[in-house]
Each structure stands twice: as structure tokens, then as C-alpha cells.
């Protein structure tokens, strides 16, 4: 099996697809943390919400594509509510209080989805346009999974451009570096954080919408993805786009190849890697603060 080139291509694509999903989730969380030192554990629950909204919209109004657009908007709107009601007030409290409150929020959102959608798994179909397989590098690969990879790369490109080349990107990087000094230059860091928070929520919703046809949509899917996302962020280093993509790629590769090459070890492998990174580079591979 491992001598077959097709095997490697297939697994590499699988790894890339998983990485892109994790990237969409981690990038919002890591930049929110970097900018405001705010730990939002409820990020995974927002992802689950996005999946539910997308699956429901796709079912009711007959369209994956409508769901793909509505889910990020709905989750960003939820983000506005959370920000105004809770997070803005939590800004000055310590990390322990933030962790506790947002951890509680996970369960509140989890039950909210249970009340609205029930406790059964929701199925969502792959859109007709992306059904079937595409022949690529000698293997047949599901078109939808290629779409996920492409979408992740597109989001990466847009974020890299915005963060690296635009004025608002420079403001965000300055805020991550030193929020007090950024404020002294007349930047409204609080409003910047609000915008970044909403974009992060929208990306979590987008990830949920994209994941819906791949996984079964269950209330606890947000809890399941949380640990991988946190591992990605810790490996990559807090606050940076580069860290989020590097961490996501490492996680995707280790997880995917670990599962097929060393199934007995696969559940330990990523934690071993995490431990190694923490020992050698305690701040992660590409932390925003040098």
C-alpha cells in the first residue's frame, strides 16, 4: 500500500483538507487572542452553530451555496450579541475568568442548538456541482474535498493580503504587538478588536458550513474540534496567521498519516509533537510577539 504513489497523493490531499478546515477555525481564534489576550473557548461552539445553520438553510431553501453564505453571517451576528452582552465586559478580567465564562458558553450554545434542532445528527448533502470525483495526480478524489482545500487556500490568500499589505492589517499587527502604544497613535483598539472578533466568528461559521457535508452535524461537534484547534494554535504560536497555517498543516499531516501508517500510535502522536514543540519552542513556531 505504501509503495503506491496514489496512496501518498490521496493521504496528502486528505491531510490538506483537514488542515484547511482547522485553519479556518484557528485563524480567527489566534488573532483574537493575539490582539486582546482574550481566550474564547466558545469558538468551537460557533463552528457547530455555523454547521447547523448551513445544514438547515440548505435543507429548507434548497441550496448548499445559500447556506455557505448565510452561516457566516448568522454566526457573525451571534458574535455581535456575545460581544455586546458578555465579552466586552470580560475584557479586563483575568484569563481564568475568561476561560470559565467562555467554557460555560460552550454548554449554553450546545444546549441552544439542542433546543432548536434536537439531539439528532443532521445530514447535509454535498452540492450537485461538487458531487463525484475528480482525477488528480493519478487518483480519483472527491470534488467537494478539493473545494474545501481551495476555499481554505483562498481565505489564506485574502487574509495574508489584508494583514500584510493593507492599512487595517498594519493596525491589527500593531495592536497585536503592543495595544497600549497602538492606542497612543490614535487607533481605537477596542473597535478593531470588535471587527476582528466578528470576522473570526464569521470564519468559524464558514468552517461549520463547509464541514457540514463532510461530517455529521451534531451538537457536540464544536467540543470535539476545540482540542485540535487549540493544539494548532499552541504549535503554531499565538496571534499569527503564519502560526495558524503552519500549525494546521502540521496537525493535518500528523493526524492523517499517523492514522494510516501507525494506527496504534496515532492518538498519541499529535500530543507527543505538542509536547516536543512546547519543550523546544515554548511560544510555538511562529508567535506574533518575538
Amino acid at each position: 500500500m505504501t509503495h503506491d504513489a496514489g496512496f501518498w497523493v490521496l493521504q496528502a490531499l486528505n491531510a490538506l483538507q483537514l488542515s484547511m478546515l482547522l485553519f479556518l477555525l484557528s485563524v480567527g481564534l489566534t488573532v483574537i487572542f493575539g490582539l486582546m489576550h482574550f481566550v474564547n473557548l466558545a469558538h468551537g461552539a460557533l463552528y457547530a452553530l455555523g454547521a447547523y445553520v448551513a445544514a438547515s438553510v440548505a435543507g429548507a431553501w434548497g441550496g448548499f451555496w445559500v447556506g455557505l453564505i448565510v452561516a457566516p453571517i448568522a454566526v457573525a451576528a451571534m458574535g455581535v450579541v456575545l460581544y455586546g452582552g458578555l465579552i466586552r465586559r470580560m475584557r479586563r478580567s483575568g484569563p481564568m475568568a475568561q476561560v470559565l465564562v467562555t467554557f460555560g458558553l460552550i454548554f449554553a450554545l450546545l444546549d441552544l442548538t439542542r433546543i432548536i434542532w434536537g439531539d439528532v445528527a443532521l445530514a447535509s448533502d454535498v452540492p450537485a456541482l461538487l458531487e463525484g470525483q475528480v482525477r488528480l495526480l493519478g487518483v480519483d478524489y472527491p470534488a467537494y474535498r478539493l473545494f474545501v482545500i481551495g476555499l481554505g487556500l483562498a481565505v489564506l490568500a485574502v487574509l495574508a493580503f489584508v494583514l500584510g499589505r493593507t492599512q487595517i492589517g498594519a493596525m491589527i499587527r500593531a495592536g497585536v504587538d503592543n495595544d497600549a502604544m497602538a492606542a497612543c497613535l490614535g487607533i481605537d483598539v477596542e473597535r478593531l478588536f470588535f471587527v476582528v472578533f466578528c470576522v473570526g466568528c464569521a470564519l468559524a461559521g464558514l468552517a461549520g458550513a463547509v464541514a457540514a457535508p463532510l461530517l455529521s452535524v451534531t451538537p457536540d461537534m464544536g467540543l470535539q474540534i476545540l482540542i485540535p484547534v487549540l493544539i494548532v494554535i499552541v504549535i503554531g504560536g499565538l496571534g499569527s496567521l503564519k502560526g495558524a497555517i503552519a500549525g494546521a498543516l502540521i496537525y493535518g499531516v500528523v493526524q492523517t498519516f499517523g492514522a494510516v501508517l501507525a494506527p496504534q500510535l496515532s492518538s498519541v502522536l499529535i500530543y507527543a509533537l505538542l509536547a516536543l514543540v512546547l519543550v523546544t519552542r515554548p511560544t510555538g513556531l511562529f508567535p506574533a510577539k518575538g
Partner: protein
Amino acid sequence: MLDLLDVRSGYGETQVLHGLSLAARPGRVLAVLGRNGAGKSTTLKTIMGLLPCRGGEIRLDGVPIAKRPFDVARDGIAYVPETRDIFPSLTVRENLELAARRFAAKGAGSWTLERVLELFPRLGERMDNGGTQLSGGEQQMLAIARALLMNPRLLILDEPTEGLAPIIVKLIHDKLQELKRAGLTMVVVEQNFGFATSLADDVAVVSKGQVVWTGSASEIRADVEAQHRWLGV
């Protein structure tokens, strides 16, 4: 232009300023002198809104000053902190543009990218370098240039000469002298007595969170007893 009246401030539980009063007058340079821990940096941070003013009042042109740092900045006070606080993830150009675009030049005589690069030609050669690749002196120049691009009414500097080689101290002195001649109001916190008194018009000496001596720069240069008593010079 800037008046501090009986200001109380500090970090957390620790009060550092115990009713500090001083005034910066338009078009003049005020040097704030004092020993380590006297409350000089705390004074500047309280002006900027980085520390809350817990008592007394700070007035800018007779009006109570804004509470949040970005409002203070928008009201025309530019701050050069002791640690310079150059953004490491930004290039020199981005560090400058961040300030420049938010405070668009208002007519002739206002600061533009071209003009600050004339003032500090060295920065022009390093525009695409990262903020952390600069020497201490270059970081100080960048911090001052960035502050000027905000086209401030008042420039406040915290120990601009700290840790710099004598030749750079001289350069910074000359540049600040040039700004003073152009009419910019400044408040400078300094440990370097010679630097401060040759630049400043007025001097306020701080000890234990209060102003204990005020007068002109020439007066304190002549007052050996005050120097010895308050500054240990």
C-alpha cells in the same frame, strides 16, 4: 497648554503620584526631572490615559483631557515612550504610515513622510527593515518621527536619551532643538541633567510623586543646592 492639578495616580494598589501639579506652556519645552521612582514616567502615562487619573485634574487648553489613550492622541498629544515601543511586526515604513494616515497633514508646515525623512535621513535608508532590526538610536529616531507624523500640538518624551551613545544623544538633542525652534510644545522627562537643561525653557523637579521645585532651566543650572538636594547631581 497642559495643566496638571493635584493629580493622583499609580499602578494597581500602589499610588505613585500624590497630588502632582505642573504646567506646560505653549511653544515652550518643559523638562521634568527627578530621581528614579519619583513618578516622572507615571506622570506621562497618566497624561496619555495609560494609567487612570484617580484624583485631581488634567486640562488640555483649559478643557479636561480625554480618558482613553486614543482620544488623547486624537486631541493632539503625541507620546514617545521610554521603551520606544516600535512595532516589531511592522516595517519602518508601516510604523510611520500608521501614524501618518490617521493624522493627515493640515496645510503647510505640517509633518509629512518626506519631512520626517529630511529630519532623520537615516530612517530613509531603513524604510523596509523590520522595526526590531534597528539600533537603539534608530528606534528612538523612528519613535520621534512617528510621533511627529501625528502632527501633535504637544509632544511628550520619556527619557529620549536613555541607553544611547553620546553621539546619538547629541543628534537627538539637535533635532529636538530644531523642533523647539519651529514652535512645538514639548514635555521631556529626563535623567540626563545636561541634556534636559540645555533643551528646556522650564523645569519641574519631581520627588515622591509631587513637584518640589519649579523654575527656569537657567535657574536650576545655577542652583547647586537644589540640584544636590533633589537630583543628586
